[in-house]
């Protein structure tokens, strides 16, 4: 992990303005899409920052997770527009198909389910994101086909 982090900081630089891009890369290199405490400590040490300065950023921003997730993170929008467009049905289908609740990872380590604030796909609500990709206008058939494609 240490070498990878040194390499990441090498490309982004050591000034504090590089902290968010560095943490993004650190989270991405982790197969479970999170930033372990040791990683934050290493980032702090190598960039010459206080550990608290790094933790503070990790815990402030929605993109970062301090706990392990999974290979793919499914983010279900639970803001206003998706709610009035019945996002609850998406949640039910996902929980049922994956056999987990929101906040949990599937047993095969493929998917982690979480809620997200609006990500600007309200025109195709109800919407969800899998990693960076947005899916909208979802119903049961579409959703199952999408999950299947990720399983392969």
């Amino acid at each position: 992990m240490r070498d990878r982090i040194i390499e990441i900081i090498g490309t982004h630089g050591k000034n504090q303005g590089a902290l968010i891009p560095v943490l993004k890369a650190v989270q991405r290199m982790n197969p479970r899409q999170y930033i372990p405490q040791e990683a934050s400590q290493l980032v702090a040490r190598i960039m010459g920052l206080r550990e608290s300065e790094v933790y503070e950023v990790v815990s402030f921003y929605g993109e970062f997770s301090e706990t392990p997730r999974a290979e793919h993170v499914i983010k279900i929008c639970d803001s206003t527009v998706c709610r009035v467009n019945h996002h609850r049905e998406l949640v039910d289908i996902l929980e049922h198909t994956l056999g987990i609740r929101v906040g949990e990872a599937s047993r095969d380590g493929k998917f982690f389910l979480e809620y997200s604030p609006c990500f600007g796909a309200c025109d195709v609500a109800p919407a969800l994101r899998i990693d960076d990709k947005v899916y909208g206008n979802l119903d049961r058939d579409k959703l199952e086909a999408i999950l299947e494609a990720y399983r392969r």
């Binding site: 303005g17 891009p21 921003y61 929605g62 206003t80 997200s116 600007g120 025109d123 609500a125």
Partner: protein, 416 residues
């Protein structure tokens, strides 16, 4: 009045971004050429005369802001395009960046010339990471054609730009929080003054404007004087992008002249409510905006009509909610959002949102206290007047408007 117009959006679907030749074919970068032929002073005057007001929510006159920014000269001056678009119900900036990125970037170069900016940054919200590659491609294409970099189009203008990808925080749409996050800290707003135009990113003069504002600047300079102001009303000239969503048949981004009524927007552009249901309310301006009942839908969308009612057009979101929706459920979604997104810096917002959520929970469960209507007013009042930034100040807006316009629905379940 023509309802759906194409001025700021005139290039949508005409070229496939990031195809720069395609953009040029439709008059791309002629606005920049025209701008560079003007003095900075005349260019700023041109924007002032257009009556353009910032499209990021606060509606500050753009020309005036440029003039103020120009007064702060320094070896480095930053120009930031605010593409944080975190306001739930709003996606028009996403469409601009996706359908016509060059229109936005051209507006940034024009502005850089007008105010003397040296470094541009497009602050892209994390949730729009899927646009990152496209935008990088657009910037690279401009660099190849001498539209970014040293001596742009053979003039003395040196200006280049990069993209900063956010990390997921609504508060980072606020200009100073955005800057804090770029400096590698939590996005908590700074004290003002100093204003960012004097001391912003790395303490250098910084101008922050919204995506749509830059697109509008391009359209204003590109077309002969009077084209932009030919739309809209005397006090609200021009066009506005609307993010129409919720329970409508045809959700999407629409460009409308100011002066259209909400009803026209919903029935004629949105093709009415899905399933022919009745409208319960419409939330205008995003999650920080008020809930307006049917009776208000005849109101024209102009700054002056909204001001007169103590309302704001905000980001231009129009969220239509049908009669099946439980208003308390809706308000719970609003409260949960603000509780989650409060940066925690000041007590009225951090604690106020928490308390409002508790009261809403009691109301939904039918266990509200007799004092709760008064509690709401007291807490909301404190938030509105004592919060440090716009987030806390506007967080109770939806709830207060619901109480004002449909008190029966809100307090119906009290004491059941």
């Amino acid at each position: 009045m023509k309802k759906n117009v194409a001025l700021i959006t005139e290039n949508f679907h005409h070229y496939i971004p990031p195809d720069l030749a395609g953009y040029k074919h439709f008059g791309g970068f002629t606005a920049l050429k025209k701008a560079l032929a003007l003095s900075e002073e005349d260019l700023i005057e041109r924007i002032e005369d257009s009556g353009l007001r910032g499209r990021g929510g606060a509606a500050y006159p753009t020309g005036k802001k440029m003039r103020q920014s120009k007064a702060y000269q320094d070896d480095i001056k930053y120009l930031i395009c605010n593409a944080d678009e975190g306001e739930p119900g709003t996606f028009k900036d996403r469409d601009l960046l996706e359908q016509d990125p060059f229109g936005v970037l051209e507006g940034m170069v024009i502005t850089a010339y007008a105010v003397g900016a040296t470094h541009g940054i497009l602050y892209l919200r994390e949730e729009y990471a899927h646009l990152l590659e496209l935008l990088q491609g657009a910037m690279a294409a401009m660099r190849r054609e001498g539209l970014l970099g040293q001596g742009i189009l053979g003039t003395a203008l040196d200006f280049d730009m990069t993209i900063f990808s956010g990390a997921g925080a609504y508060i980072c749409g606020e200009g100073t929080s955005l800057i804090e996050s770029m400096e590698g800290r939590p996005g908590r707003p700074r004290n003002k003054p100093p204003y960012t135009k004097a001391q912003g990113l790395y303490l250098k003069p910084t101008l922050v404007s919204n995506v749509e504002t830059f697109s509008a600047i391009t359209a204003i300079v590109k077309h002969p004087q009077g084209v932009f102001t030919g739309y809209g009303t005397q006090k609200s000239p021009g066009t506005k992008l609307i993010s129409l969503c919720g329970n409508v048949n045809n959700p999407g981004t629409y460009e409308v002249p100011f002066g259209l009524t909400l009803e026209e927007i919903i029935t004629e552009l949105g093709h009415g409510v899905a399933g022919d249901k009745g409208i319960k309310f419409v939330q205008v301006g995003g999650i920080s905006g008020p809930l307006l009942p049917r009776a208000c839908l005849k109101m024209p969308l102009t700054y002056e009509d909204f001001d007169a009612e103590g309302l704001s057009i905000g980001s231009g979101a129009v969220l239509v909610v049908d009669e099946d929706t439980d208003i308390l459920d809706f308000l719970d979604a609003v409260a949960a959002f603000f509780k989650h997104e409060s940066c925690g810096k000041c007590t009225p917002c951090r604690e106020g949102n928490r308390q409002l959520m508790n009261i809403l929970k009691r109301m939904r469960e039918g266990t509200a206290l007799p004092s709760d209507p008064e509690n709401i007013q007291r807490i909301a009042h404190t938030m509105k007047y004592a919060s440090f930034c716009g987030l806390g100040k506007t967080a109770p807006t939806a709830l207060l408007s619901a109480i004002k316009y449909c008190p029966e629905e809100i307090f119906m379940r009290r004491g059941q």
